[in-house]
Amino acid sequence: MSVETKKLKFKVFRFNKDTDYLPYYDTIEMEVTKDELVLDVMNRIKWEHDGSFSYRRSCRHGICGSCAIKVNQKPTLACKDNVFELVEIFGEELVLEPQDIKRAYKDMVIDKSNFWEKYDKVQPYLIADIEEFPTEENIVSKEDAEKIDEADYCIACGSCFYACPAVEVNNEYIGPMALTKAWRFNADVRDNAVDDRLNTLQQLGSGIWDCVKCNECAEACPKELDPIGKITKLHLQTFEKEKSLNNVAVRHAVGFKWSIKKHGILDEGELVRYSEGNFGVMKHIPEAIPMLMHGKLVFPWNMPKSKNLDEIKKLVDIASTVKY
């Protein structure tokens, strides 16, 4: 018979920006039943243990995105995640923390202004010339609607944004949620601002080229929207609409095709030169010297090639769909 209840220990992040200098953790033991969600636990902490405990909540149906927190560092939409399932991963001590402890106002409530400011930067709305008194509907075909790839299901909970390590260390990077929104409108056949958004997103430091490809956003999204997949689509759209700039990140992506056609496998050294340029490549000398001394550099004359290279060359020619 399955276990119906468990006695669990919750370590709960507590902080009041107005009165506390440092945050602290309350330890609360509770009997939890198998159907209880993290939101039920937070409600019980407030109702049964400490009425001053603060957290955001609203719809209780996974739609409003208010109650997103972290449990043992795992982004969690509190009204969706079952407590027993978390116990299965982390054991019987669960740590409840806000999405970003550095931005805490009070307990689980954080200042999300950085999230919304970045969201604003991608013009996250439909920009279209629509007649004031239309005489017929603006019908979007099923095929065209599918291109949005469910990006319109984003509930703006911030789970992906506060899980993104690039956001964590790079204040400029606009992050996976804003990029998912950008795709939602850039894939919309009615929208007229596609080029505008793509131009904004080409800037190094803030745009699509600063995604570190860790897939934390895909793992975190409670609606399983695969934000990194949308970032990839924005990359592909950049080339399709010929909006790419001539910078190190773009040359790096394009350089793979060039190098694969030449050797099958990648010529790592040449790729760096191709991406950085003959002058820019010089800045890599400090790490190239120890690499050379430890037998980690392959010179062009020793560059290994894939077997059946002719096959690869032919495929690069016939399967390429993008011109640069």
Binding site: I89, F90, A218, D226, F256, G264, E268, G269, V316, T321
Partner: protein, 294 residues
């Protein structure tokens, strides 16, 4: 048990900037009695960057690599997390979308190949864990890495996205991975508990944003060091290139010396199996602290 046999997709770095990875992989496979057939025909997987430029080309090239494993009738093993991700993603998309598969096969037919979807792809780490078994590896240990604190660094592309990776990584949880830590213990070492073990090293923005890359690697490495790690181990050569080769830049960025040896997974196994350090290519590692090579 029947002798395990795999098609080895080496990826590019193992043939260039991390020769020690290929050497140590072949050395431990030989010692453990695992047969690896090298896929010399394979091309680069695109490393998640070609995928940003030309989707159809990257699918076709990855499908071609899989064709050669299929021809041998073998499971493909990878020794690079990013090769694993891109190959598994290609396989997943083609196996679930007959129309897309037909389009790719149209291209492959022109060079006399056909992608069928008959070969699985898994990282060597999970071949050791799920097919070979850590019990058997523990029995083969002659030189336990006793009293050494090893911090496992998993690398993103073996554990995320889990809905894809769980098909080949034994259901590893992306928020609490255990496979590498359990291997450290099987080899006689102490597995270091630290928060950053499943975090990103920043490799993929190293050229356009070295500051991001150095901050990410630095945070993880200092976390390992502050939790008393004597060395780190990773199944991914891209993480290795970041964390072994770039320690100078990382230290400068984080304002603290980051000075720790980072082993490739098969190097660590090889040490415990008593394989000669030269065969494991330990002399190729830039930071050799605690490796006692002299």
């Amino acid at each position: 048990m029947e002798k395990l046999k795999y098609a080895l997709y080496t990826g590019c770095t193992a043939r260039e900037s991390t020769p020690e990875l290929l050497k140590s992989t072949l050395a431990i496979a030989d010692k453990l009695g695992i047969e690896l057939v090298l896929l010399d025909e394979a091309s680069c997987c695109g490393a998640s960057h070609l995928q940003d430029f030309d989707d159809m080309l990257s699918l076709t090239l990855n499908a071609r690599n899989l064709c050669y494993a299929e021809k041998l009738g073998l499971t493909m093993v990878t020794i690079c997390n990013t090769c694993q991700l891109n190959t598994a993603l290609t396989k997943d998309r083609l196996d679930s979308d007959p129309e897309l598969k037909a389009k790719v096969n149209e291209k492959l037919a022109e060079v006399g190949l056909e992608y069928k979807g008959t070969s699985e792809v898994k990282h060597f780490l999970y071949a050791l864990q799920d097919d070979y078994g850590y019990d058997k590896i523990a029995q083969a240990v002659t030189n336990p890495i006793a009293d050494i604190n090893v911090a496992s660094f998993y690398g993103c592309h073996n554990i995320r996205p889990s809905h894809l990776q769980n098909k080949s990584n034994g259901g590893e949880n992306a928020y609490k991975p255990v496979s590498l830590d359990n291997l450290v213990v099987a080899l006689g070492g102490n597995a270091v508990e630290y928060e950053s073990k499943n975090k990103c090293c920043g490799f993929h923005v190293e050229l356009q944003n070295p500051q991001t890359a150095n901050r990410l690697s630095g945070t993880a490495m200092l976390d390992a060091i502050d939790n008393n790690a004597d060395m780190m181990v990773t199944p991914c050569p891209l993480c290795h290139l970041r964390m072994d080769v770039q320690q100078h830049g990382i230290s400068k960025e984080v304002g603290r010396p980051v000075d720790i040896a980072v082993l490739h997974l098969p190097q660590m196994v090889g040490i415990a199996l008593g394989i000669d350090p030269k065969e494991l290519g330990l002399h190729h590692n830039i930071n050799q602290k605690g490796l006692n090579l002299k």
